[in-house]
């Protein structure tokens, strides 16, 4: 054991507290899915399950959810490809404008969402592009790329190049080395990045407002319902159901990529 016992106990307690902190609002959200009143006041005086059925049958909500899923998948795939490509390029080659490119990737996240939204909107208008799912995907991909990029770069920085050299020495070609050596080392970074990117896209509302046109994604639908306040519990029901629905995929995704770590000696 490397860490002292006191340290380990301290870390366990800290972890527990942080997890509780992360989930306190989640518990509140779930509680309010069963709130009979529409305004969110405390304490809850009346409990009910009457909101579940209308929510599930809400056509607007279902269309919005489906659109959000499609857009998030599209944006994440684009981000995975472009983000890791960029990370490899920046990591391996020293070329002019290296820092500038990293800076450009950060922009969609650093700038207020409305700037990206307004810029893209006028751009699409100018080039006569029809607003639809693809404009949404492009809008989301702009800020999803940096997430993958940052994660992969951070991982590549920590990966010794000796591994790749050893692989080459042992007779593997470029593609084999990539498949058997490089990919496994960055796989966790890719998966956690993809999950983050998907979540960010799924949840985005500002840029989407400018790139969506007449369609609604789920966050826009939620925003609308929060505004009028008369169907607030429906929103809580939707979130509750989504949470339940994502436990499995996220668990599987994490399991798929948990490797023993090439450089770890114990586990």
């Amino acid at each position: 054991m490397i860490e002292s016992r006191a340290t380990r106990i301290g870390l366990k307690v800290w972890t527990l507290l942080v997890v509780l902190f992360l989930h306190l609002p989640i518990v509140i959200i779930i509680l309010y899915a069963f709130n009979a009143q529409t305004a969110q006041g405390w304490p809850i005086t009346e409990w009910t399950t009457k909101w579940f059925s209308p929510t599930l049958h809400d056509e607007e909500m279902r269309q919005a959810l489906w659109l959000s899923l499609k857009a998030a998948v599209g944006a994440t795939v684009i981000a995975l490809v472009l983000g890791s490509l960029a990370a490899f390029a920046i990591h391996r080659f020293k070329f002019f404008g290296r820092d500038m490119i990293s800076f450009v990737f950060i922009l969609p996240i650093a700038l207020p969402g409305i700037i990206t939204g307004m810029a893209l909107n006028s751009f699409f208008v100018f080039w006569h592009v029809n607003f639809g799912i693809w404009t949404i995907i492009v809008g989301h991909a702009t800020f999803c790329v940096v997430i993958i990029f940052n994660n992969v770069i951070a991982r590549l920085r920590r990966t010794p190049t000796s591994l790749v050299e050893a692989s080459m020495d042992l007779g593997a070609d470029g593609w084999q080395t990539f498949r058997y050596v490089t990919l496994p080392t960055i796989s966790t970074a890719l998966v956690s990045g993809a999950l983050l990117a998907f979540a960010l896209s799924f949840d985005e509302v500002i840029v989407t407002t400018f790139t969506a046109g007449v369609q609604n994604t789920l966050p826009i639908w939620i925003f609308g319902n929060i505004r009028i306040g008369q169907q607030l519990p429906e929103v809580n029901v939707v979130v509750f159901l989504i949470l339940i629905g994502t436990i499995l995929p996220v668990t599987i995704a994490q399991r798929l990529t948990s490797e023993s770590g090439i450089l770890r000696t114990r586990r």
Partner: protein
């Protein structure tokens, strides 16, 4: 290697489009609007920037935004490090999966709804004051204040800090730490001289998210902020859109986060920790 270069053009293309769109927008920061028609007039001037720099109100907004973004980043780094360390190096595979899921799950529950939940917690008759009252403490009036915003932002972006730090801590070979111990470095010394420097890229990567996401946000200030909580994003939104949209001014104001991020990334590079940037 060849396939590599074939795939780079779409990457370049993608960001060139985005840059072109941005460029047109920011160029308009040097223009102004005709007060009568509210049409944008293409006369070059730096009036917008002068107004931002000389107005104490606008300056206050910028300092507030940057200040809270920094506070959130530091808070999240402190909160995230121990849990990331535990997840990466001490937890069993089953526990690690569980923690991974627990950390990511809040991200799936809609940013808007989570912030709304905090409203319920922090309101005057909300859960926080109700709990404090139950144990005999005075009410903490942090609803609709900058403290509330700092708290909510730290909460919202925490997973974005935990995951990159986890990713970088996970790759530290045990041999490094064992070697450090063998050389006489105990606990804290090993942490300071071996673990932290190796984890720094992850921390910096996470900090870029927390800092920039806070810098550009305007929804949380709108929902949980009070009377003196306007962020840069709020000003850009309020002045740039709609009935009297002063797009040039909004574009000028929006160039501030751009500048701040440029400085931030420069500093990150200077620290030598994030060589890629």
């Amino acid at each position: 290697m060849r396939a590599f270069f074939e795939l780079l053009p779409p990457l370049a293309w993608f960001f060139l489009l985005y840059l072109a769109a941005l460029a047109v927008l920011f160029v308009s920061a040097f223009w102004s609007v005709d007060p009568f028609t509210t049409e944008v007039v293409h006369t070059w001037n730096t009036e917008n920037f002068r107004e931002i720099v000389t107005s104490p109100d606008w300056r206050r907004v910028v300092y507030r935004t940057v200040g809270i973004a920094a506070a959130v980043t530091i808070t999240d780094a402190i909160l995230a490090f121990p849990i990331a360390y535990y997840m990466a190096r001490l937890a069993s595979p089953r526990m690690r999966t569980l923690l991974f899921v627990l950390v990511l799950l809040p991200l799936w529950s809609s940013y808007l709804v989570r912030v709304y939940a905090w409203k319920v917690i922090l309101a005057q008759n909300g859960i926080l004051n109700w709990s404090l009252e139950k144990i005999g403490l005075p009410a903490a009036n942090i609803g609709y204040t900058n403290t509330a915003m700092w708290l909510v932002f730290s909460y919202i972006w925490l997973p974005f800090m935990i995951l990159p730090v986890y990713a970088s801590l996970e790759r530290i070979p045990d041999s490094y730490i064992e070697a450090s111990h063998d050389l006489g470095g105990r606990g804290f010394r090993t942490l300071r001289s071996v673990i932290l420097p190796l984890a720094l890229p992850g921390i910096v990567a996470g900090s870029i998210f927390t800092f920039s996401l806070t810098l550009g946000d305007y929804i949380t200030p709108t929902l949980v902020g009070g009377a003196s909580s306007s962020f840069i994003g709020n000003i850009v939104y309020n002045t740039g859109l709609g009935a009297a949209g002063n797009l040039p001014f909004a574009a000028a104001f929006a160039s501030i986060p751009l500048l701040v991020m440029a400085i931030y990334l420069l500093l990150a590079r200077r620290l030598g920790a994030f060589e890629a940037l």
